[in-house]
Amino acid sequence: MKRYITYIVLGLLALLPLLGLNSYLMHILILVIMWSVIGMAWNLLSGYCGQVSFGHAAFFGVGAYTAGMLYSKLGISGWWGFPASVFVVAVFALGIGYICLRLRGPYFALATLSMGVIFRIVAENLVGVTGGDLGIMIRERTWIDKTWYFYIILIVAAATYYLVRKVIESKLGYYFVAIREDQDAAESLGINTTKYKTIALILSAVITGFAGVFYTNYMGYIDPKVVFALHDISIITIMVVMVGGVATYWGPVVGAIIMVLLAEAIRSIPKLGTAHHTLFGVLLIVIIIFLPNGIVGDFSKLKRLFGMRRPAP
């Protein structure tokens, strides 16, 4: 059962559109999958390699703007952003890595946080290049129906999952974990820490950029405040993984379900008005206090709580 669970979940997800779900549920599902992708990407760099990034909005935004500018400047479909963003985002990630990866721990976190903000301000002010605050609006989205969007992001998510799994189970993954546990010890064992941290950063950035490309094509409107948002992108990314489970394969997916689906469900309770933020915030606090390793990370604890664990022999 356990060995096939990935395929079963993937298969079930692939069959979902056949149920004829309404476009509201499809929208929420698409957002859940998109956030899982971003979460998995962040997890690779911050969960496994231990370099906690507060600036993933930078990569998301660069991906989104790559697609947006292909459309607005070159007049070609925003979907070309997928191949183009690999190169563009990687170059930006190299630049950021060159500056930030010299720093450790909280200093790295702060440096990436500022990177995210710097990118937003630059995008706001380079009016000639990005269109500034007026943003980029795609006049006609490719499809009205959401099925194709769903499959595209599902394929991206499946590929990301596969990639993360392959990387973490390879030698590379052990290097990452070694760096997370003790960078100096890793260095003394002959691991070129700078090189492997850069690899983790670029992989993470490119995947996040993919999510950005998808966002542009799917939403049809981007501006710097939306795609380079500190809270709405960078912090939510961290929350997705923290709630789901750091350094677990399924953590980001579970986290995305909580952060998108549950947030939306709470928001739609009638008559709750503006209190939904409070309610959701309390829920997050409870999760983080009682399940510090996230839902997937502390799954055994949860099992005990719901009485599903057989008593120890």
Binding site: Y24, D133, L134, G135, K225, E264, R267, K271, M308
Partner: protein
């Protein structure tokens, strides 16, 4: 495993419950709004006004015997969430028209969905020009476009102030940017030189470096475009620096809500702002709405409130005239709208490259003795304008 399935099932039911059941003798209208976040102030004014209008209409028997049942969903100013709400309204609740939203970014996201799904969307207070410039058939806008926000103010400049130099300060948002571009064009038309055109961060609190630049440029008129807090802080700091100009002015939004006077106190005095509506207008129902709102909430509403209030009347009117309450039926009825409301006459026209746009008359207001007074155009004026404004030294 079984327990887990139960938990999932409960969560699922919870999600479904979130969609309330339709009642038969009401027309349900769910309005997406920013009720939390930076834009919450505007959302609040609009929510109250929507409710007041619906109460009045229901008291008179509703629309075709059905009562309007309004409810609100918080989008927090996030396009993603606004879109989720609208998808739900169209698909799950089968609501045949969409009314609401505030920020231009959200309105753009909603407009794209509405057009794709062929559902009429009435924009109430989002200013960005682009929204009604996309050849959309199903998107209607009741408020004036940003390009024309300052029309009355510009004519005031042209006929009274006749400035040679002007400084434009604007916040980094779609609204701020298009507002500054419009003013730059207007300034050229009236022969004023733009000596400074500077952007500041939304949410900025320290304007002193920016203001010292303004001081160095010595403009006759200072014009700023921003949402709520920045407008108040900007004027306060202008006062602290004793930065004098012949006229301080703002482009609607943050400069035209009661919180501006409350927040900036005496620094707000004599500030002129463009606006789309004032409580002193002589349209039928304007005064009643303003007084009723004040009696209930102890403050006069801004143009956002008036537009929201009128939007419910426009909706009710369209519903009354519509052949049937389908998406296309309501669209055709909206297109034929010709209604006098408390917000002014509403009529959706195609001109100047805009579609389904209501070209409402704009006004200029000035803060005099802690109250907004309409000063321009002359036929709407409630008090004569004060110009040039006294310098900070003379004020006490």
């Amino acid at each position: 495993m079984k327990r887990l399935l139960w938990v999932i099932a409960v969560l699922f039911v919870f999600t479904l419950l979130a969609v309330p059941v339709l009642a038969a003798d009401t027309f349900d209208l769910v309005i997406p709004l920013p009720l939390t976040g930076k834009q919450a102030k505007f959302g609040e004014i609009m929510k109250r006004s929507y409710e007041m209008a619906a109460e009045e209409i229901n008291a008179k028997g509703g629309v075709k015997g059905k009562k309007l049942a309004l409810s609100f969903e918080d989008s927090a100013g996030k396009p993603e969430t606004a879109r989720a709400i609208v998808e739900k309204l169209i698909d799950v609740k089968k609501q045949p028209l969409i009314v609401g939203e505030y920020t231009s970014a959200c309105a753009k996201a909603v407009a794209a969905v509405a057009e794709e799904r062929k559902t009429p969307y009435l924009v109430v207070a989002s200013a960005d020009d682009a929204i009604t410039k996309q050849n959309y058939k199903y998107v209607f806008r009741q408020n004036q476009v940003n390009d024309h926000y300052a029309d009355a103010f510009t004519s005031f400049l042209k006929e009274v102030v006749k400035p040679k130099t002007i400084a434009i300060l604007y916040e980094s948002s779609a609204f701020g940017t298009s507002g500054s571009e419009a003013m730059e064009r207007d300034a050229k038309k009236i022969g004023a030189q733009v000596v400074l055109n500077e952007k500041f961060e939304t949410g900025a609190i320290d304007f002193k470096p920016l203001l010292s630049k303004v001081k160095a440029a010595q403009p006759e008129v200072i014009y700023s475009v921003s949402y709520a807090n920045e407008a108040q802080l900007l004027m306060k700091q202008i006062k602290e620096l004793r930065l004098d100009a012949k006229l301080f002015s703002g482009g609607a939004a943050g400069f035209a809500i009661p919180e501006f006077i409350e927040g900036a106190k005496d620094a707000a005095e004599y500030v002129v702002s463009a606006t789309l509506w004032t409580t002193q207008l002589k349209y039928p129902g304007t005064k009643e709405f303003a007084e009723k709102y004040k009696a209930k909430y102890k403050d006069y509403p801004s143009y956002h409130g008036a537009s929201a209030y009128a939007a419910v009347y426009v909706t009710a009117d369209a519903l009354k005239r519509a052949k049937d309450w389908t998406q296309d039926g309501i669209r055709d009825a909206l297109k034929a709208t010709d209604l006098k409301t408390a917000f002014g006459p509403v009529k959706f026209e195609d001109k100047e490259g805009y579609q389904n746009q209501n070209f409402a008359e704009t006004l200029a207001i000035q803060v005099q003795k802690g109250e907004f007074e309409t000063i321009w155009p002359k036929n709407h004026a409630s008090k004569p304008y004060v110009y040039p404004v006294p310098s900070w030294k003379e004020r006490r």
